[in-house]
């Protein structure tokens, strides 16, 4: 499904990713862990197509297409979704309306007919209950005045409506207390199935207690330096990153 080969990327002339190789098959959940500054968020943003990152080498293939050649909205059309570490507040843009524009944008990209306002609202009502987002937030401007937990829940809610094939969760656990973390993880787990894949980017092992990965990769200085199963995360929790990165604490 997703094949990243020798990916190099830089920000403002500074190399951040220095040769990432990663293969994600349908239904798999991969955790990307690593110390601050290792390139975790850069990888998420490069995959989603954010401006300001220059890919200097390598390739990213998603279901046979070169992802790096696509605009962000085209990547969404192909089934890629990024749950933001810091979801953006957009005053004046209604949450429900944004989601309708997004869903219909994706459907148009795929050559599918638009959903009517009525059908769309039915879908939204069903999904908002499933992820436990306060229904009152639907008609508020996107993320404006939302608490940290509400913002992350809103990301999962959007994901549940847009039904991506590959969801990238960028430090979704940051700023969440344990209850909010559990709720967000439950929302994510409800979406896991044999066809949908996840890349869970996180600094801490805690989130992986709730979203249990098939693989754990350790990123350091822009490279994956170790890959293991879910038990690797526990080991990292116990021992820190230094034994892998070779740096003194």
């Amino acid at each position: 499904m997703l094949e990243i080969k020798n990916l190099h990327a830089e920000v403002a002339g500074k190399p951040i990713l220095r040769g990432i190789d990663l293969t994600v098959r349908p239904g798999e959940t991969h955790a990307i862990m690593g110390p601050n500054g290792s390139g975790k968020s850069t990888l998420s943003h490069v995959l989603a197509g954010r401006e300001g990152y220059t890919v200097t080498d390598g390739s990213v293939t998603f279901n046979g297409k070169s992802l790096l050649d696509l605009e962000p909205e085209e990547r969404a059309g192909e089934g890629v979704f990024l749950a933001f570490q810091y979801p953006v507040e957009i005053p004046g843009v209604n949450n429900t309306y944004m989601l309708k524009a997004a869903l219909n944008g994706i459907r148009a990209y795929r050559g599918e007919p638009e959903l009517s306002a009525v059908d769309f609202l039915k879908l939204v009502k069903a999904r908002v209950k499933a992820v436990g987002l306060d229904e009152g937030l639907l008609n508020r401007p996107v993320n404006e005045g939302f608490s940290g937990g509400e913002k992350k829940r809103n990301e999962v809610f959007q994901m549940s409506v847009l039904e991506p094939l590959l969801a990238i969760l960028d430090e979704t656990d940051s700023g969440l207390d344990i209850d909010a973390l559990k709720a967000v993880a439950e929302g994510v787990n409800a979406l896991r199935d044999a066809n949908r894949s996840f890349i869970v980017v996180t600094h801490y092992q805690r989130l992986l207690d709730y979203i249990v990965p098939d693989y754990v990769h350790v990123l350091s200085k822009g490279r994956i330096i170790k890959t293991g199963g879910k038990e690797l995360a526990l080991e990292l929790e116990a021992r820190g990153y230094d034994w892998l990165t070779g740096e003194a604490a």
Binding site: G49, R50, P72, V88, I90, P91, G92, N94, L121
Partner: protein, 436 residues
């Protein structure tokens, strides 16, 4: 411009008082000419592009081709049972349908009102001519038709009166209608002035709206400048508010090659208040200039003003908001804000608040901002699958949202939404949500 002599030669003849006043107004314009950029009030708005156009004053025949089907084909913001249509400034009975007006509400053409009793319509010659206001004087000289709205004490016009001002027919016509609105004590009304025309028309509309609100009267005045981007449009709204009168003004402008609107409000007695809401959105080489003056003549008067400007491509915008607080006008409040969004590097806005305060117990605030679309928000929307064009439109709409939300007519709001988004699915979704 040489054309000015030709225009002034077309001042309509009239007997006695009316004729004398028209000649005096024409003489004023002849003496002072039209304003130029050496005048402070016109510093950023040059009329030079109009000089090469061979204008002539529109006659009755010029708009004859605009019949009911042609009018229906033009975009129209308001579906009201009370509609008055002016074509090139001339009242058109065949296109107007006043419907059943409530008791105490009288709507006439200016021509009919002048024929009844010209002396009863002294507003035609207000405001007193000034060099910077020479277009108002030109309107005084030329205005032979327009609309006169009079409402008796305590009477209410609850459905909006939709005044359509269409420009049509031969090129380079000068259209100079006059609107007169008089609300007696405690009367209230809602009036929509909509300006439109067919693509490519190069007419010059020179219009004045005179508003007089007696104590306790309330007027919602919506002005939508939606002419094609080939016209010139110079308007002035002059309002005088007596005690506890309220004026809500919505000025929306996205049409015209060159649009200049002056709004002059006199808060003449205690308790008078005005709420000025403005939105302009231009692109290409369009130029739009709003000048407002709110004169707090006495204490306990209140004004609130919010203008939003959106400028794309090589367009240029001007906002000048002046607040005057007279020496004895204690206990007034005046708030003013000008927010601007530049969508292109070639676009430009000149925004300037001007406060003249001669009293000490006042609460005045003003602010101006100029910004561009937030790249983080743009990426967020696109990462969700929203196309770049739609994302830009949504964020632009969001910038104007507060100004648009304040427009109290669904149909007018939808037309504005259509302009920003290219569709009005937002309203449709809102309707679906409301139906839940």
């Amino acid at each position: 411009m040489d054309a000015l002599d030709l225009i002034l030669a077309a001042v309509p003849a009239a007997d006695g008082w009316l004729g004398e006043q028209r000649r005096a107004a024409a003489d004023f314009v002849r003496r002072h000419g039209l304003p130029d950029t050496r005048q402070e009030a016109w510093k950023y708005t040059s009329l030079a592009p109009l000089k090469s156009i061979a204008y002539r004053v529109a006659g009755t025949d010029d708009g004859a081709a605009l019949d009911a089907p042609a009018l229906a084909a033009l975009p129209s913001a308001c579906a009201s049972p009370h509609r008055v249509v002016l074509v090139n400034g001339q009242f058109r009975a065949d296109l107007s349908s006043l419907g059943e007006l409530p008791p105490g509400v009288r709507v006439r053409s200016l021509a009919a009102a002048l024929a009844d009793d010209a002396a009863a319509i002294p507003e035609v010659f207000a405001p007193a001519p000034t060099p910077a206001g020479a277009f108002a004087a030109l309107n005084s000289a030329l205005a032979s038709d327009g609309v006169v709205v009079e409402i008796e004490p305590g009477r209410v016009l609850d459905q909006p009166l939709h005044v359509v001002c269409a420009v049509a027919g031969a090129d380079a016509l000068v259209c100079a209608p006059r609107m007169i609105v008089r609300l007696a004590r405690d009367a209230s009304a809602r009036i929509v002035e909509e300006y439109l025309g067919s693509t490519g028309n190069r007419s010059l509309t020179d219009i004045v709206t005179s508003i007089a609100l007696a104590p306790g009267a309330t007027l919602h005045h919506h002005r939508l400048q939606g002419e094609p981007d080939s016209t010139a449009h110079i308007g002035r709204v002059v309002a005088r508010l007596e005690a506890n009168a309220t004026l809500h003004s919505d000025a929306v402008a996205f049409g015209g090659a060159l649009t200049r609107l002056d709004i002059d409000i006199e808060l003449a007695a205690r308790g008078a208040r005005c709420n000025l809401n403005g939105l302009f959105a231009v692109s290409g080489n369009q130029h739009v200039d709003h000048h407002t003056v709110v004169d707090h003549r006495v204490g306990d008067t209140h004004s609130e003003e919010r203008y939003h400007g959106i400028l794309d491509e090589r367009s240029r915008g001007v906002f000048n908001g002046k607040v005057i607080v007279r020496p004895d006008a204690q206990g007034i409040t005046a708030r003013q804000a000008s927010h601007n969004l530049l969508l292109s590097r070639g676009a430009e806005i000149d925004t300037k608040p001007e406060l003249e305060i001669y009293a000490d117990d006042v609460a005045c605030a003003h602010g101006a901002t100029v910004g561009e679309l937030d790249p983080a928000a743009l990426f967020y929307l696109r990462s969700r699958g929203v196309t770049e064009a739609e994302a830009r439109a949504l964020l632009t709409y969001a910038f104007a949202d507060k100004a648009i939300a304040a427009i109290p007519l669904d149909s007018l709001r939808q037309r504005v939404e259509q302009r920003f988004l290219g569709h009005h699915r937002l309203s449709e979704l809102g309707a679906a949500l409301a139906a839940e």
